[in-house]
């Protein structure tokens, strides 16, 4: 990959993160409970107001001083303090919730990418065939279902009805003194249903997108070349159509991450999975703005990083960019 390509992508990501920081800074100023709004409290005397102003740095100009101070604090991991979690630093609150969400979304992405690309590629290659009619039909239905709509019937049938899996949470209370294998088993059984919900939700859109990418690729001249070479259909698909159809998918998958996390939040709510989604709900009902803002910042930066990674992977997969 050329240093220029890489450099350009890094700069782009950096600029985006800066824009997100500025956005977050402005929101921070609007928030109920923010210093600006506290100071407008009519019950304060003029002296107190001036003192607070000086203490919070509001006597400094908004740009650059206050912005710089905000960015400095954010970069060093100071996102303020949670209201709901009794004054804990937001960073700590987030750190406790990130793990479960990463586990859920990460595994779901892996399964959905493998399954979705395989189904979509095959359906598009044999357009109008059996896999296409059934697979694409099912994918369209899944694509139309919010993750929690997939999750709710899963609970009704497999947890509440058949009792195969627990209805909620990530662990059974009192498991911490059990052997590690039992703990893993417990975690696994809690993970199955939320994982299935998020995976199915993702699978639909990936398979539809891959299908149309393969259909576009199928009409390329090099596919005709491959057919003229007398190669078997499967080989043409695997060696010529698939690698080319994969390229646009890399970018699409990264851009989707924001939607995926938003969807995962709803799935977590259904399954009381103790990740960012559950945290969001708690923070939302308590109007815990510092935490909400921290969640947004975290998700936004993750998506930017995912896009950067996608650009790098793209550059690796496509020799036209790599050179």
């Amino acid at each position: 990959m050329s240093a220029r390509y890489l450099g350009r992508k890094v700069v782009q990501a950096f600029v985006t993160v800066c824009a997100i920081l500025v956005l977050n800074f402005l929101m921070f100023r609007m928030m109920p409970g923010s210093p600006d709004r506290v100071i407008k409290n009519p019950n304060l005397t003029e002296e107190t107001r001036a003192a607070l102003r000086a203490r919070w740095g509001l006597d400094q100009p908004l740009v650059p001083d206050q912005l710089v101070a905000y960015v400095k604090a954010t970069v060093t991991g100071d996102l303020g303090y949670s209201i709901f979690y009794r004054g804990q630093p937001v960073t700590d609150v987030l750190a406790a919730s990130v793990g479960p969400t990463v586990l859920l979304v990460g595994l779901a992405e892996v399964f959905a990418i493998i399954g979705g690309l395989a189904i979509g590629a095959y359906a598009g290659w044999r357009r109008g065939g059996k896999v296409d009619s059934i697979g694409t039909g099912a994918s369209l239905v899944l694509y139309s279902m919010p993750y929690f709509v997939i999750g709710m019937p899963l609970i009704i049938v497999f947890a509440a009805g058949l009792g195969w899996f627990p209805t909620s949470g990530m662990t059974t209370p009192g498991m911490s003194d059990k052997p590690i294998v039992a703990q893993a088993w417990d975690l696994g059984s809690h993970l199955v249903l939320p994982l299935v919900a998020v995976t199915l939700g993702l699978l639909g859109s990936y398979s539809i997108l891959m299908r149309s990418s393969i259909i576009d690729t199928r009409s390329e001249d090099y596919i005709t070349t491959a057919r003229a070479k007398g190669l078997r259909d499967g080989r043409i698909l695997r060696h010529h159509a698939f690698p080319n159809a994969l390229l646009p998918m890399v970018t699409l998958i990264a851009i989707n991450l924001g939607y995926v996390i938003a969807g995962a939040i709803t799935a977590e709510i259904v399954f009381s999975w103790p990740g960012l989604g559950t945290l969001t709900i708690h923070a939302l009902s308590a109007r815990d703005y510092p935490v909400l803002q921290g969640i947004f910042l975290l998700v936004a930066v993750s998506v930017v990083i995912a896009n950067l990674i996608a650009d790098i992977v793209y550059g690796y997969l496509d020799p036209r960019v790599r050179a």
């Binding site: 279902m145 919010p146 989707n256 924001g258 939302l284």
Partner: protein, 320 residues
Amino acid sequence: MTPLVAPDPLPPVAAAPAGARRRPGRARTFVGQVLARNDGRIGLLILIAFAVLAAFPDLFVGRLETATTATGRSLQPPGGGYLFGTDELGRDVLNMTVHGARISMAIGLMATMITVVFGALLGIIAGYVGGRTDTVIMRISDFFLVLPTIVLAIILAPVILDIVGADAELFGIRATMIVIVVVIGLTSWATTARIIRSQVLSIKMRMFVDRARVIGSGPGRIMRRHVLPNVINLIVAQAVLTFAIAVFTETTLAFIGLGDPFAPSWGQILNAAQSAGAPGLGAWWYIAPPAVCVVLVVLAFTLVGNALDDVLNPKSGARR
């Protein structure tokens, strides 16, 4: 929900004789072609059914039941006068679901209008004017494509509601609804703008724009009289796909708890079901009707949208 159309497609219909599309005869065949497809027909049928429900809910199930007018027992299973059972307050689920159609689809319609008007406007300007204007609009749309707007909405919605008050109204529409509509607009204008832009770029190449420029039409007139008519079909297809995304997003936001409890959309009903613990209690009748409606409507819009898109933009599907 993921937009099904890639944000930066190849110039879509460069090969098709778009100049001819304005003729009414073509428009008729265009609709005919969509109706000739199974997906287009099924989708349209579902949509018409829901449009009727949304237009005249009182005709089918009477007025919207509230906690005070509810007659049933709590979480009553289907049967005994309640086709779909009751919710935790004893309200008829069928009644709420039918009324939910109106709210969900009204929000979807408003959000789609905002998205398409802004997306198409910015897309046409970016594509036609080009140069620095184009660069700026595209950079901003890049930012919005990357930005997790739904997550942003989760923060912004309560902030705005705290500031203006949840009961505030604008043009008789409650603030909660407006916030949701704006948020959906913010989420999806960028995709529309990009698709329209790339189409405009290919139209710009065509001769008749040059001809119009030579005879002294201003850019505004050219965009209105020459560019717009040629992208209108694409805008319609895009609007239909956006509608699907809007209903989907509204359901998600309402489910998270950003909806208006006094205007129960399907997402809002599902949120109430979740709060009442319906999944764990096995109260499927509380969940299934609104959930099935959401899926049907989103699916129908997606089917019709794809059919429109395919008819407009026949990917060389004939080739093997």
